[in-house]
């Protein structure tokens, strides 16, 4: 089959590799019909997440058709399914508490030591996202082996086309959980850093949850326009003092909740961020946390900090004092996707959530390497790339 494989920093290629096969009883093989490039794939592309190996198949946002099932799978051949990026067994201590992204049993035993050393506990497994999270082959491929197929994949009705449901795999529930972790109350003013796909879905979710005002922060005009189209007020951080603006726009109180949908590769030219960029470049591995630092200073005392943005390591000059002295609540985490898929599918079906507005490009799988390059270098116009195995080269819709 064809699959997008990682070969090094800024070097991904579509290679021909072996088709996957059923190994464990609960497995299923999915024939991919749509798969997206995620902002967090760019962290792999930029080489800032460790333990990615040449030949690894990337991709964790995908959906398709069930081709084959193991004897304990509950799926049947021919069903259309969206697959959560988190691999979860459904039966361990964490899964039973619906903390699916903390599953004990999905990351192979021999792969758990790396993340256990880094984080104190091993991470659970994710598709196509480095050997820290299991080294599972990802979804930017024609076929994928999906473990625990009785727990993760959600069967979608035929009248909802791929573009409307694909993002149930990651960015929609990630934006939703980002808003939920901000514990939004009806009169709240909420600020969201980053108008990439997760930020945009967090904005939409915060408004559905009843926030009275959402303020979006970015520097790409097209992304800010998408945020405004959803109903957010916007701040361009290149020309505006963000903290000053947020104080004024929240009546001098400060915003009630902040959502960092940027993560470890924050832009911006604050001195500490420039130092973090330099450290990342020379392999000292500091996360660039400029957005999060600014968010912690901007949130009102007693407010909430939600971190859906991806961080992988350590960061320097963290405003720990502000966190304690202002009595902040902080929540983060990889998304417990399986907790949200059913409810969010209903919200897509009844029109509460629009999931197609952010797709800027549709490419054949063979063109995936160009998709990565442009998604990284032309962030203003390439807001979301969907890859379609089987689509004709040269076709763009």
């Amino acid at each position: 089959m064809k699959a997008l494989t990682w070969h090094g920093t800024h070097d991904v290629r579509v290679d021909t590799v072996d088709d996957p096969e059923i190994i464990n009883p609960r497995d299923a093989i999915i024939k991919v019909t749509s798969t997206a490039i995620c902002g967090s794939d760019l962290h792999l592309y930029d080489g800032v997440i460790p333990a990615v190996r040449p030949g690894d198949i990337l991709g964790h946002e995908f959906m398709g058709e069930v081709m084959e099932t193991g004897k304990d799978s509950t799926l049947t051949k021919g069903q259309r399914v969206v697959v959560p990026f988190t691999i979860s067994c459904g039966g361990c201590f964490h899964c039973k508490m619906q903390q699916y992204s903390c599953c004990d049993n999905s990351n192979p035993a021999e792969k758990q030591d790396m993340s256990a050393t880094l984080y104190g506990h091993p991470m659970s497994a994710l598709f196509g996202y480095s050997h820290l999270t299991g080294g599972y082959s990802g979804g930017q491929a024609e076929y994928v082996r999906v473990p625990f197929s009785d727990v993760g994949p959600i069967v979608v009705p035929d009248h909802l086309d791929d573009d409307r449901v694909l993002f149930l795999s990651d960015i929609l529930p990630t934006g939703w959980m980002g808003a939920e972790n901000a514990d939004i109350q009806p009169d709240d003013t909420v600020a969201v850093w980053g108008c990439g796909p997760v930020g945009l879905f967090a904005i939409q979710s915060a408004l559905v949850m009843g926030a009275s005002k959402v303020i979006a922060i970015d520097h790409y005009p097209n992304r800010l326009a998408l945020a405004r189209q959803l109903g957010a007020e916007v701040i361009d951080f290149r020309g505006t003092d963000v903290r000053e603006a947020l104080m004024e726009m929240s009546g001098g109180i400060g915003v009630d909740a902040v959502i960092d949908a940027v993560g470890m590769e924050a832009h911006g030219f604050a001195p500490d961020n420039v130092i973090d960029i330099a450290k990342q470049k020379i392999g000292m591995g500091a996360d660039r946390a400029a957005a999060l630092k600014q968010a912690i200073l901007a949130v009102r005392p007693g407010g909430r900090v939600s971190i859906p943005g991806v961080y992988g390591g350590m960061t320097d000059k963290f405003p720990l004092g502000a966190m304690m002295e202002k009595a902040l609540q902080v929540r983060g985490g990889q998304t417990h996707v399986q907790r949200y898929t059913k409810d969010l599918l209903e919200k897509i079906e009844d029109g509460t959530l629009d999931t197609t507005f952010l797709i800027s490009h549709r490419l054949p799988l063979e063109d995936a390497a160009r998709g990565y390059k442009c998604f990284r270098e032309e962030q203003d116009s390439w807001t979301k790339v969907v890859l379609k195995p089987g689509m004709e080269l040269g076709q763009t819709k």
């Binding site: 072996d18 096969e21 190994i23 609960r26 039966g91 049993n105 035993a109």
Partner: protein, 222 residues
């Protein structure tokens, strides 16, 4: 019985800390679990298990690990009691041969060879505990026990595996020493995780995407 011959960490080249622990263990050797625990308890002022002490007096011949598994004590004991089941979760154990009085463990060793260890069950309390020790003349002097205790509420069972070991002198001893250098503690941890996976999910997680590339399949062909 978690003598590792197929180190999971060979590729990443991590051998340092636990190798040192294993070496220290070899230097001391011959410590029965009970004696070791008793001696250390005397020097301890807190409630942590002896195996988590820093700077253990006399080195560390003890390997121990606890996992919580969401299944009943009886079910878990039942799996372990059938000792021939264990190679399914202990990837360096090729097979276990059951005889009337003893069990012979065929353990994979470097260079495609195997080391055999003969043990006998010294205690078997259903739902609670299984203990074993090597018989006289076995190539490795070892003792071990696995205990099953109720976890709080409906969390299942706390399973603790504790082992001590003492390889012999001479050429065989050097081979065995090589085995032990491959991070027995890491191996114990991995084996218990695989046991937990099998009990809780009915399968052992693998990220291979072809059957011939799972670790189990690759060990068969090595």
């Amino acid at each position: 019985m978690t003598i590792n011959t197929q180190s999971s960490d060979r590729k990443s080249g991590r051998t340092g800390a636990t190798a040192a622990i294993a070496s220290a263990a070899l230097a001391v050797g011959g410590i029965a679990i009970g004696a070791a625990i008793a001696r250390r308890r005397a020097a301890s002022t807190d409630d942590a298990p002896e195996r988590s002490r820093k700077n253990l007096p006399g080195g560390n011949a003890l390997v121990g690990r606890t996992v919580t598994i969401g299944r009943s004590r009886e079910k878990l004991h039942g799996f372990w009691e059938k000792i021939e089941n264990l190679p399914e979760v202990m990837e360096n154990v090729e097979r276990i041969e059951r005889n009337a009085e003893t069990d012979i463990w065929h353990i994979r060793a470097p260079g495609g060879t195997t080391v055999q260890v003969e043990t006998r069950i010294t205690e078997n309390v259903p739902g609670e505990r299984i203990a074993w020790e090597s018989v006289e003349g076995s190539s490795i002097d070892t003792r071990g026990e696995v205990t099953f205790r109720d976890a709080p509420g409906d969390r299942g069972t706390r399973v603790t595996l504790v082992m001590s070991y003492d390889p012999p002198a001479g050429a065989l001893g050097r081979t065995v020493a090589k085995l032990f250098r491959r991070e027995p503690e890491v191996q114990a941890r991995h084996d218990l995780k695989r046991f937990k996976m099998l009990m809780e999910t009915g399968e052992i997680a693998t990220s291979a995407h072809r059957r011939d590339r799972t670790r189990a399949a690759q060990q068969e062909t090595e």
